[in-house]
């Protein structure tokens, strides 16, 4: 049975999602019905905002129409849509920086780090399990029950950032994302099992002395130490959480991880 949070996460990702389960929840939940109305109002504004006026600007040269076919050389070497080469590595953010900008950036990062450290010291600590559960709210797409595995390049890219490999014996991974968690980018994976999706977070920077069980906000799971390599958090959600499945996934992931130098 879907709860409010699950409904809102799914709708925030795709406000026009036609899923029958979402519709069924909306039909019986007044709060989520109102939430949807607000969301769709925002969506209308968003669409209007995106529709910027693209009439030609006066300061730009006049555009010509598409040329006559005869004016152009024979067939360009453009591949078919399906055969286009990978664009995953598009240099969308890679730009050359000037040295003074780098110094300014470094100084601001240092100042930011000092400020963050001060705030961190002033705040009461939250348990690792609570932070893991809180993080789950940010990943609505992760909880889909699906047979589709993440493409190998996508999974490998996520794992490579943490210098790990994961054997196929860990199970079919349906979700892989690199998530910022407690100051580090960590792999957030979902392994599909017969009992449903199981989330695995590889917490290289979080050491625990012994396995810790937790049961918070509808999530049940365990955090287990990985000798010399922090810990892993493994969790499921919902009332039908199966402890045996959790234990199996813990064992399979623990055995399937290889640490790269």
């Amino acid at each position: 049975m879907m709860d409010h949070a699950q409904y809102r996460q799914a709708m925030d990702a795709d406000p026009h999602n036609p899923d029958a389960e979402l519709r069924a929840h909306r039909d019986v939940c007044q709060e989520c019905n109102l939430y949807t109305e607000r969301l769709l109002r925002f969506e209308l504004r968003l669409e209007r905002a995106l529709r910027v006026n693209v009439a030609a600007r006066a300061d730009l040269p006049e555009r010509t129409d598409l040329p006559e076919r005869a004016d152009l050389p024979e067939r360009a070497d453009l591949p078919r849509h399906a055969a286009l080469p990978a664009t995953a590595g598009l240099p969308t953010g890679a730009r050359r920086e000037r040295p003074w900008r780098f110094m300014a950036l470094a100084a601001s990062v240092l100042l930011g780090a000092v400020a963050a450290a001060g705030i961190w010291l002033a705040l009461p600590g939250r348990s690792l399990a609570a932070d893991v559960v809180a993080h789950m709210a940010e990943e609505p797409g992760a909880w889909r029950r699906t047979d589709v595995s993440v493409p190998a390049p996508e999974l490998n890219a996520v794992l490579r950032e943490s210098k790990i490999r994961l054997a196929a014996s860990a199970g079919p991974v349906s979700y892989a994302n690199s998530c910022f968690f407690r100051g580090h980018d960590v792999p957030h994976l979902v392994v599909q099992t017969e009992s449903g999706p199981v989330t695995v977070m590889v917490l290289v920077h979080e050491s625990v002395s012994r396995p810790t069980q937790f049961d918070e906000l509808g999530f049940r799971g365990t955090i287990v130490p990985m000798a010399g390599h922090g810990s892993i958090a493994v969790l499921m959600r919902g009332p039908g959480v199966d402890a045996a499945t959790l234990a199996q996934v813990v064992a399979r992931v623990r055995d399937g991880i290889t640490w790269m130098p």
Binding site: V52, A76, P79, T87, E138, G141, T146, V190
Partner: protein, 167 residues
């Protein structure tokens, strides 16, 4: 003779299709690059490439994703050629003020400025979904991501956007 007539009809259809999709392709390129002049160049070049390669598009109904892919690739090539320097987002917003302005709806101006501030990884799938009408599966295919990863980016994009405009 019939082949020639058929070819001309297809060409005319293709040209009409390009003209009808051009505004949205230009908007997409604008939100991708955050630079109107650059977006104009990218789309113009992309349409020329598409025109030259139109025979490789077997189904005109698939023209939209086909053209979008060409625009994305052309934009990537622009980066390779120009090696653009890092710019301040506030400077970008000031530079593109005429494009972002919506005098009749001031809150749209604020929302457009917030869109400029979204990380590229979040803004691109959001524009593909909310402006271009792509499904999650189509976005996943275009960006070479899994569908759950796309949903996560869309969820984060909307949340950041709402936070930026104080909703």
């Amino acid at each position: 003779m019939n082949d020639r007539v058929g070819g001309n009809v297809r060409q005319a259809r293709f040209q009409a299709l390009c003209q009808s999709l051009r505004p949205d392709l230009l908007r997409f390129a604008f939100w991708l690059s955050r630079d109107h002049a650059l977006a104009e160049d990218v789309v113009q070049e992309s349409l020329l490439r598409a025109w030259k390669a139109q025979d490789s598009l077997q189904d005109l109904d698939a023209a939209k994703p086909w053209l979008l892919t060409i625009v994305r690739r052309e934009y990537a090539r622009t980066f390779e050629r120009k090696r653009l320097v890092t710019v301040n987002v506030d400077d970008l917003i000031a530079k593109e003020e005429p494009m972002l302005a919506a005098p009749e709806e001031p809150d749209l101006t604020e929302l457009r400025a917030a869109l400029f501030k979204l990380p590229d990884d979040y803004r691109e799938p959001l524009v593909m979904q909310a402006l271009m009408g792509f499904s999650t599966a189509e976005i996943a295919q275009e960006l070479e991501l899994s569908e759950p990863a796309v949903l996560t980016r869309l969820f984060r994009a909307r949340n950041q956007l709402r936070a930026l405009v104080g909703e």
